[in-house]
């Protein structure tokens, strides 16, 4: 049973090695590897669903000497999201990179990226997290620069450097923790920190600050987001999808773990408030820039800055809510928002990539005819857009509903104002795109359809809007939370 966890990393890793060694069969082997990885992730999800959290001691040494992996509900949910998004992106990529010499380079890095994401989500060790972060950062930057254009290379070089700065800062925090507690395992450290009381306050605070700042840089928390839009907007579409939907979430995932688990006993509400306010600033600023963006993919990238901001706004609310169903609901809402954004943004980028390939550009103002020629893609953009806005029946609608509920209960009404502004701006930028589909251009008699590329995007959109919005209940079970009830 516990061998499942390393399997979820080993399978994409081996697949990556195989496509590296056999570049001629890259696409075929890549898709097979993607399917196998999805199966492995599905197995982990099922096991967590049936048995609760899993841990695996690698090497049989046990903590603190060895490394362990673990999968709780949170990790399993993100793992499953990663698998579905990555699978859809893989299928899409076979079409996107068909007849392109880039395919040979795309597949190994792509599978390696996937392996690093799985490793990150399943890691239970702070240093192990550092290695996965570095692997993730390297793969992401390399993939982002795949188009080879000067803009893309420059943006992704900056992304790589920022990521290195962030992860080194994070590592300094890890060093401090190791020097104080002599352990690297998250659960063990959390015990030590809780038991330490006030004794090591300075170390805890310094480590938390260093690690959070380092990760916030990678998570593009305002005002450390400057690198994200050019990097994500200039990458090839499948890569943008993964970068925005998955890679950024990796850093957010670690921050959430740090604040809600590792440093739960020492993280103060006022410190969480700072993060929340930065998140709120990110929501407003990101949405505003998205509205002003001239290009479709740039718009989507700024929207990621905004959507990440929402996730940070949950932290002060959770800190202000006493343990109980209300807090559980907030946590579940946080996960739900992260999942919906993952699906929706991936779908959006994939669709945007099709538009770009069809039109030869992605300037929003000139997309009228293209939007009408590609009804399925336009529909996908609409669905994803409504999930980004937070309209029902998307998962983010429930997330926003629960966030507002939590804000009212905690008496922190200002988050609602932010939510309002963010939602209206999101509606404005989404409909700025959609209104292009209703222009005066002549109705095309034949639509451009490419099922292999359009269906994955549509599936992701439907997951964000339909599945998560109407059947979010199992998520609570998966996260091991009691039914929220009338909170």
């Amino acid at each position: 049973m516990t061998d499942l966890l390393p399997l979820a990393v080993a399978v994409p890793l081996l697949a990556a090695l195989l496509v590296t060694a056999l570049p001629r069969q890259a696409a075929l082997l890549g898709v097979l590897g993607a399917a196998a990885t999805t199966l492995a992730a599905g197995a982990v999800l099922t096991a967590v669903w049936l048995n609760g959290a899993l841990t695996a001691d690698l090497g049989g040494w046990g903590v603190p000497l060895g490394i362990s992996m673990r999968a709780n509900g949170f990790a399993a949910a993100l793992l499953a999201m990663t698998a579905l998004v990555a699978l859809a992106t893989s299928v899409y990529a076979t079409g996107y990179f068909a007849d392109s010499p880039k395919a040979v380079h795309f597949w190994p890095l792509w599978l390696l990226l996937w392996a690093s994401l799985n490793a990150l989500l399943l890691a239970a060790d702070l240093f192990n997290l550092f290695v996965t972060l570095e692997l993730l950062g390297l793969c992401a930057a390399a993939l982002g620069a795949l188009t080879g254009s000067a803009d893309a290379v420059k943006a992704n070089l900056r992304y790589l450097l920022v990521g290195l700065l962030g992860s080194t800062t994070y590592l300094m925090g890890v060093a401090l923790l190791y020097s104080a507690y002599g352990a690297l395992d998250i659960a063990l450290l959390a015990e030590h920190i809780a038991a330490g009381g006030d004794e090591n306050n300075a170390v805890d605070a310094a480590a938390l600050t260093l690690m959070t700042v380092g990760l916030a840089l990678k998570a593009a928390l305002f005002p450390l987001h400057f690198w994200l839009p050019p990097a994500h907007a200039n990458a090839p579409a499948p890569v943008s999808a993964a970068l925005s939907a998955l890679v950024v979430k990796g850093a957010v995932y670690i921050i959430v773990i740090l604040w809600l688990e590792l440093f739960a006993s020492v993280a103060t509400a006022s410190a969480a408030m700072v993060l929340g306010l930065l998140g709120a600033a990110g929501v407003v600023w990101g949405s505003w820039r998205a509205l002003r963006a001239a290009r479709l993919k740039l718009m989507a990238a700024y929207s990621t800055v905004a959507q990440i901001g929402y996730l940070f706004m949950f932290l002060p609310l959770i800190a202000a809510t006493p343990p109980g169903p209300a807090r559980d609901n907030l946590f579940a809402a946080l996960v739900l928002m992260a999942l919906s954004h993952g699906f929706a943004k991936a779908g959006f980028f994939l669709a945007a990539g099709l538009v770009q390939q069809q039109a030869g550009h992605d300037r929003i103002d000139d997309l009228g005819g293209t939007a009408q020629q590609m009804p399925a893609t336009t529909f996908t953009i609409g669905l994803c857009g409504s999930a980004l806005i937070g309209l029902p029946p998307s998962g983010s609608f429930i997330g926003k509903w629960l966030m507002m509920q939590g804000a009212i209960e905690a008496g922190q009404w200002w988050w609602i104002v932010v939510l309002l502004i963010g939602t209206l701006l999101a509606a404005a930028y989404t409909f700025r795109v959609l209104s292009r589909a209703f222009g005066l251009e002549p109705t095309p008699l034949r639509f451009v359809t490419d099922a292999r590329s359009e269906i994955p995007a549509l599936m992701l959109a439907l997951t964000a809007v339909g599945v998560l919005g109407l059947a979010a209940g199992p998520l609570w079970t998966l996260l091991g939370l009691g039914a929220g009830g009338a909170a």
Binding site: L13, G59, G60, L65, N128, E199, V203
Partner: protein, 216 residues
């Protein structure tokens, strides 16, 4: 960035350094406990190698090392993805050429020694791999545009060899019921040596190829 900003930033960061130094000093003074040192030392005899660092790297925390090999591979793949290599330098003069001809075998030999000695004394796969890589670098400086590397297919296979052997050993152990990367004590030494050998070759090839800097 303007000078003033740079100065301000410098002052702020100097402050940060002082704070961190104070924090670290406090942490080191407060708890001069053994941390993991004693635990690790106690388990080294069961790890299959006697060099404690190697036993941490390839046994206790082998998973980290596996991912680390993947990082090296990722860097190489990223470099390959950027296009073909820049052509090499002009063929070197006779002095350099003769130097190359004796220094390269020496480096390879030293690499092999480093690999073997890693089990019980300072050394190991990474250092050995680095020496192999260095041999490649010197070959290229000496005028060989390919830095002594084999053809593309072979390079690809060699580059993935380390990670592949590592992962396969891990999975085989899991399949045998031991658990992922859990070596039986009796076999540990040989399994580690196997992994290290593959890793050394992979690292050497990868580093040399990274130095060449482009798709073969």
């Amino acid at each position: 960035m303007s000078r003033d900003w740079s100065l301000l930033l410098g002052m702020l960061l100097a402050l940060l350094a002082c704070v961190l130094l104070w924090v670290l000093h406090g942490a080191l003074m407060d708890q001069p406990g053994p941390r993991l040192a004693d635990l690790a030392a106690a388990n080294v005899p069961y790890s299959g190698v006697s060099n404690p660092v190697t036993s941490v790297l390839l046994n206790f925390r082998a998973y980290d090392t596996l991912l680390e090999l993947a990082v090296v591979l990722a860097a190489l793949l990223g470099i390959w993805a950027l296009g073909p290599a820049v052509p090499g330098f002009q063929p070197s003069g006779p002095v350099l050429a003769s130097m190359v001809s004796w220094i390269v075998p020496l480096l390879i030999l030293a690499g092999g020694y480093m690999l073997w000695v890693g089990g019980h004394a300072p050394g190991g796969a990474f250092q050995a791999g680095a020496l192999l890589g260095a041999a490649g670098v010197i070959l290229r400086l000496g005028g060989d545009p390919r830095a002594g590397l084999p053809d593309e297919t072979m390079q690809r296979w060699l580059a993935v060899a380390g990670t592949a052997v590592f992962t396969l050993v891990g999975l085989a152990l899991a399949a045998a019921g031991e658990g992922f990367l859990t070596y039986p004590t009796d076999w540990a030494k040989w399994l580690i040596l196997l992994i290290e050998t593959a890793a050394t070759i992979a690292i050497g090839v990868t580093l040399a190829a990274a130095y060449v800097g482009g798709r073969p």
